[in-house]
Each structure stands twice: as structure tokens, then as C-alpha cells.
Amino acid sequence: MSSDRRTFIKRLGMGAAVGLGSLAILEKTALVEASSSEPVETNSETRWGMLIDMSLCDPECNDCQKVCHAKHNVPDHGNKKDEIKWIWKAPFKNVFTDMNHTYLQAGLLEKPFLTLCNHCDNPPCVRVCPTQATFKRDDGIVQMDYHRCIGCRFCMAGCPYGSRSFNWRDPRENLKQLDPSFPSRERGVVEKCNLCAERVDVGQLPHCVETCTNGVLIFGNLNDPESAIRKALNEKKTIQRKPALGTRPSVFYVI
């Protein structure tokens, strides 16, 4: 095929137009709307949130995880690949990936930080779920409907916090005791923390909050200026995980 310079340049121009056009589409669909923590407009009175004060957390203690996982029938498969987790500890450097620098306070990089689903106000997992198995409730809890989950794992790819686990194996293989008050999951579905929706709905605190005797966890309504969590947020210097992504987490940290 012969081609003179004129048609070559024409094609180049056409290619560039298509390229730029798709950039515009990317921009429309991109997650980054604004890297602020302004709440999304909703007419709900309630937006549940959590404040985690790591200065009070005992690095040796794992009580919150033990109770949460036992009450929700979360198995321990004993290896990283099959691991299922709702609330867990990970080093600061992994939890706050965008806050590492060489001269950070001694020991902070490796210090275990408590982490769980952020129940984002602008949750990417909800946006990508093809069956609406994951959805955001009016009160801000990002809930999973396990009856609808088809195990496609788009949500796991969408979540920037690694808050979701996939059941590669039957969870009951490694559950010595089943708690009948909450269903387990089955092979082939994704799962994550539900902020104890089953308890919050009947006026109880989440298991982790109730269990912690050091007062690390404060749970409450972010839309109520008089709530304990809002007062604590007012007083303390707090941060969020990866705020620049614009997911607007409902979980806040005191380092």
C-alpha cells in the first residue's frame, strides 16, 4: 500500500482526535471528582461513621477482630491467599500508602493499624457491581446482598483499600463453631465488613466498638453535630485513607 505524506498526516490527525475524545470519556467516568470530604448531597439524617484512635490501641490486642470474626462466621484458612477478613491490622505503611516518607516518626512505618471497610460516601465498589449486590444504604453503610453476589470480583478490583475478600474455599471447612445468629457465606462470593448492620438496625453498637475496652473506636452519626464522633472529630486531628481518590471514607484515624 502506497501512502503519500498528505494522507499520512490526515490519518495522524484522525487518530489524535479519537485519542483525545476517549480521554474526555475517561475524565467523565474517572473516580476523582474532587478530593474533598464534603458529604454527598442526601436527605438522610444519618450517616454512620467510625473514628479509630490508634494512640489508644494496644498493638498486642486483637479482641475486636476475634469477636467480629466469631460472630460473623469468618473463617481462618491459615494462609494469605485464601484469607477472609472483615477487620484486621496492617502496618501503617500499607494502610496509609500515600503518607510514607523517609523521616517518619521512629517505628510508625511498621506500627500495626486497625483497618476495615471504609463505608465510603462515594464507593467505587458499588459503582462497578453489575448485579447491585453491593449497594449503599441511606445511612451510609455499604452493604452486601450475598443472595445476589455472582462472584465476579469487580468490587475487589474497584476497592482501593483491599477491604474485600473472596471465598476461594468453603468457609465452613475452617469454622470450628458456627454462630447460628448470622449466616456464613459460601464458596464463590465476595465478603466484607457490614459495619454490623444487623446490630445497628436494632440500636446496638457494632461488635468491634462494643468489645474494645481501650476506647479506640468511636461509632456514631456523622450528620449529627452533637454526636460523640462529631465532637471527637472536632477536637482531634484526624486523617482518612487515600483522601485524594475522592471516595470520602466514613472511617477516620487519629495517628
Binding site: 465452613r172 475452617n174 454462630d179 447460628p180 445468629s181 456464613s184 438496625d201
Partner: protein, 127 residues
Amino acid sequence: MYNLKWILPPFLAFLAILTYPLWSGPKGAMPELAKPKGEACVESATWMRANHMQLLDHWREEVVRNQSRVYVNQAGQRFEKSLTKTCLSCHNNKQEFCDRCHNYTSVKPYCFECHVDPKLSEVSHVQ
């Protein structure tokens, strides 16, 4: 008719196979079900027999997606919308109630892959 004796018997056999589901039906008498606790069911027994699957489907939608966890029946009684905590608290013998009838009618609900029969909570991995 031309070659009738060759055509008719296979045709009748074909009809028999085609209509097998209609005339075979469940064999034997309906098995006896374990006696539930309590005086009456969530709704009347005849209604429950015909509609419990729809009721449960409705309940799970309501609980998981609409945050509505209390069911008020025709008589005004209140029940928690829960498979394990409500149905199995009265029908505490799942094997000889739910399962027995489901085996008889050849239905295989998969709910108990996740939902827990309190009787089996000690033994893991039994469905």
C-alpha cells in the same frame, strides 16, 4: 393405514414418555413431618404450605435491602424476619420438617449453605 403396526407402538411409547411427569407424581403417602413448637405458624398452615418460599424471598429482600426487620402477620403478631431465628426456632427439627417435605417434593433450597441450622452449629460443613 399404511404400516400402522410399525408406527403405532413406538408412537404410544413416545406419548407415554412425554407425559411421564404428569401421571407419575410423587410415590407413596406424604411423609410425616416433625411437630413444630408453638400454637400456630407465622400465617395459617395452608397459606404457609403454598407460600412460604415467597414469604422468605420477600423477607430477605426486606431485611437486606430495605432495613425492615419486623414482620406483622394477619393477626397483628410481630416476628423477626429471619430464617434461622424465626422459622427454625419453632421448626427446630429441620431434617424432619423442611428437608423431609422438600425431599418428597424434590425441591433443593440452597439457603443452608450459608444460613445455619442451630442443631448443626457444632459440626461444621453439614448442609
